[in-house]
């Protein structure tokens, strides 16, 4: 059996895939997230106990291990069912897309239903379980199986009364499977005090996995814990998982840490003015953004703008909506001039709408994780994160958010969370638990005054960039989102129609002042004109005076010349005593002339 086990190319191939962890080789299960958690899957060639209460997913886990092993790793497997008939099993897993009938036809899987009915069985002495060994052995040999599942072998205890013998036989069975090199999954029902009702963990000592299905506040959460993994490092933390149409998915969330690279790249917020407020370029790629605000402050609109901008860049965006349906978001976004329809059509935008109470916090996280992995978005929107946080207690919720943010940051995914703050309470206090995880915190606030409500936008913080400290009025209209400077003036900080009023009042006042000034100017000009006229008149008068005087003087000079000519004529006519008379006359004339001069 051993020789057969280790031969064959399929085995070699799968061994290559197996991640060595020390000396122990492992067999990949193909269960989403489990192989990462265990660094390679289950211990190869050894039995693993998977235990848990009813409905915890034991059988599904085992079946996935087998089916995925057969399909993905070409390791045929045997499913020994002690509970469900093979037809039932086939029907149950058909919804997960597992075609057991087809796999059985291809000799990749054998399902053997072992039925034990106590009422049909009479025990009459010494016996052993060789029949079971032979059956299993035959099934294994018929397809060269490498994997086996025993689900749930404890049913034997219900069918057979000799417990001591059963225990001995089970021990022998597990040993025998180990000898055959079978990677085995043995499921067991959880007991009251022990991990399993019949204490199977005593016999399976290599690896024990506990599945749990807990209900808190009416919401159930599935968790997986590795109780024991001999020879391998493993986390002992509980790991949430969920079951959907592709089977079990779990997140190895414990492996993420604060080791992500911080990007220098900036991406637009979708609102040009907001980009300018954030150091002129928008958010950092891969950063976490919190948009908090009361009801109706426009958080989702901001988110829609961001989604739209991201899609315009041709990048994928994943939108987790916990309050509205996809069509509602599309309609609402359209009302503010953002058409997300084409983004959805081009598969750049995907919505996931669900009620927060639909499942537990951990499950939400797991689902988000899986969707992010599937869709590979460059931006994730959670709208609103508060609803999500309300379903768990604060500590749990905080832890979950840290994991989510860490995970998204590791991927370099920009994440935008909206947060509904309760009316009345201090916004800073409400979001304190969340905000410290965020790189950028934008606060939207209803500002009420003058009988109306207006939206104000603040950038409370934005790590790594110079950001505006100003309040902006956040206006939603059919044309889109606009950020407008609020009115800050002597009348205080005003927004909305008050701002408009105030602004127009200011404009009117300014106009009036302008008119007043103009009027004064005109007046002044008029006055100046008058004065100029007066000056001109005076100048004219001066000129007049001067002209008058000049003409007088000219007349006077003329007269003197005539007089002189006359006297000369007289003295010439008198003759004799001309010289004496001349001298006397000269003095008189000089006197007269002087008086005229004085006049001038």
């Amino acid at each position: 059996m051993r020789a057969q086990h280790s031969s064959g190319s399929a085995t070699r191939q799968s061994k290559k895939k197996t991640i060595a962890d020390g000396q122990l080789t492992k067999a990949l299960t193909g269960v989403h997230g489990f192989d990462e958690l265990t660094r390679g899957g289950l211990p190869r060639g050894r039995p693993t106990l998977v235990c848990g209460g009813p409905g915890c997913g034991k059988t599904l886990f085992a079946l996935e291990f087998l089916v995925r092993g057969a399909i993905q790793y070409r390791e045929p497997g045997v499913f020994v069912s002690f509970e469900e008939r093979s037809e039932d099993l086939q029907a149950n897993v058909a919804s997960l897309g597992f075609d057991l009938v087809g796999l059985a036809k291809d000799k990749l899987i054998v399902i053997d239903h072992v039925r034990v009915e106590r009422s049909e069985i009479e025990e009459t002495g010494d016996y052993d379980l060789d029949g079971l060994f032979i059956r299993i052995g035959h099934a294994i040999d018929s397809i060269g199986a490498k994997r086996i599942v025993l689900d749930t072998i404890e049913s034997l205890f219900g069918g057979l009364s000799n417990e001591a013998l059963l225990r001995a036989e089970l021990r022998r069975l597990f040993g025998w499977l180990k000898d055959k090199g079978m990677t085995a999954v043995i499921t067991g029902e959880r007991g009251d005090r022990a991990l399993t009702r019949q204490g199977l963990e005593e016999y399976v000592s290599d690896c024990v996995i506990l599945l749990d299905h807990r209900v808190t506040n009416e919401i159930s959460t599935r968790r997986l814990r590795i109780v024991k993994y001999r020879g391998s490092k493993h986390t002992t933390n509980e790991c949430p998982f969920f079951i959907d149409d592709t089977g079990i998915s779990l997140i190895p969330i414990t492996s993420v840490g604060l080791t992500h690279e911080a990007s220098q790249e900036r991406i637009t917020t979708g609102i040009e003015r907001l980009d300018r407020m954030l150091g002129g370029a928008g958010y950092f790629r891969g950063s976490s953004i919190l948009v908090s605000g009361g009801a109706g402050t426009g958080k989702s609109s901001l988110a829609a703008a961001f989604a739209s901008a991201s899609c315009r860049r041709g990048e994928r965006c994943l939108y987790f909506a916990f309050e509205e349906s996809e069509s509602q978001i599309l309609r609402n976004a359209r009302s503010i001039g953002i058409d997300l329809g084409p983004c959805v059509g081009r598969e750049l935008l995907r919505f996931r709408s669900s009620r927060p109470t639909f499942c537990g916090l951990e499950t939400h996280l797991a689902i988000m994780h899986k969707l992010v992995e599937e869709f590979d978005p460059s931006a994730v929107i959670v709208d609103p994160v508060t609803n999500l946080l309300q379903i768990g207690d604060e500590r749990e919720a905080g832890a979950m958010l840290v994991r989510l943010i860490d995970y998204l940051k590791m991927r370099g995914t920009t994440c935008l969370f909206t947060s509904l703050t309760a009316g009345g309470s201090a916004i800073e206090a409400t979001d304190v638990g969340v905000s410290s995880l965020m790189d950028t915190w934008i606060l939207l606030r209803n500002l009420e005054s003058g009988g109306e409500r207006n939206r104000g936008l603040y950038v409370l913080k934005s790590r790594g960039m110079a950001h505006s400290n100003q309040v902006r009025e956040f206006v939603l209209s059919h044309e889109g989102i606009q950020l407008i400077d609020v009115y800050t003036g002597p009348g205080g900080v005003l927004m909305g129609s008050e701002r408009v009023n105030q602004e127009s009042a200011d404009a009117a006042e300014e106009e009036r002042q302008k008119e007043l000034l103009e009027e004064r100017r005109q007046k002044m000009l008029r006055k100046h004109a008058t004065l100029e006229a007066q000056i001109a008149a005076l100048r004219a008068e001066i000129e007049q005076d001067r002209t008058t005087f000049e003409s007088d003087r000219a007349v006077a000079t003329k007269r003197r010349k005539r007089d002189e000519t006359l006297r000369r004529e007289l003295s010439r006519r008198k003759g004799a005593d001309a010289s004496a008379a001349n001298g006397e006359n000269k003095t008189g004339k000089r006197k007269a002339r002087g008086s005229i001069d004085d006049l001038a």
Binding site: R115, V116, E120, T124, G125, Y127, D128, L129, L132
Partner: protein, 114 residues
Amino acid sequence: MTSRNGRKKDSSSKESTPKVEWDLRLYVAGQSRKSLTALANLKKLCEEYLAGKYRIEVVDLLQTPQLAAGDQILAIPTLVRKLPAPMKKIIGDLSNEERALVGLDLRPAKEKQG
């Protein structure tokens, strides 16, 4: 009337009397002590209570393991009462005769005979 006992499925059983009321099949695994004890006990029992009305078929699962699933065999040895209906299963080496008789519903049968 002779019974046909065999280690293997007896092909000649069809030729035996059509009046076979008891069709028994004993599953064993090789020649183990338990198997041999069981067969011996079974023969003794049949001769004592069902003389002439029974047929025993012994199936060695080591040689025909594919037959184990059909009758839902887990324990070895297992005696299956195919006839009369309903089918009954008796596991163990039949050393507890009392329980074996109860298991085979032989007490009422014996009374009817008597």
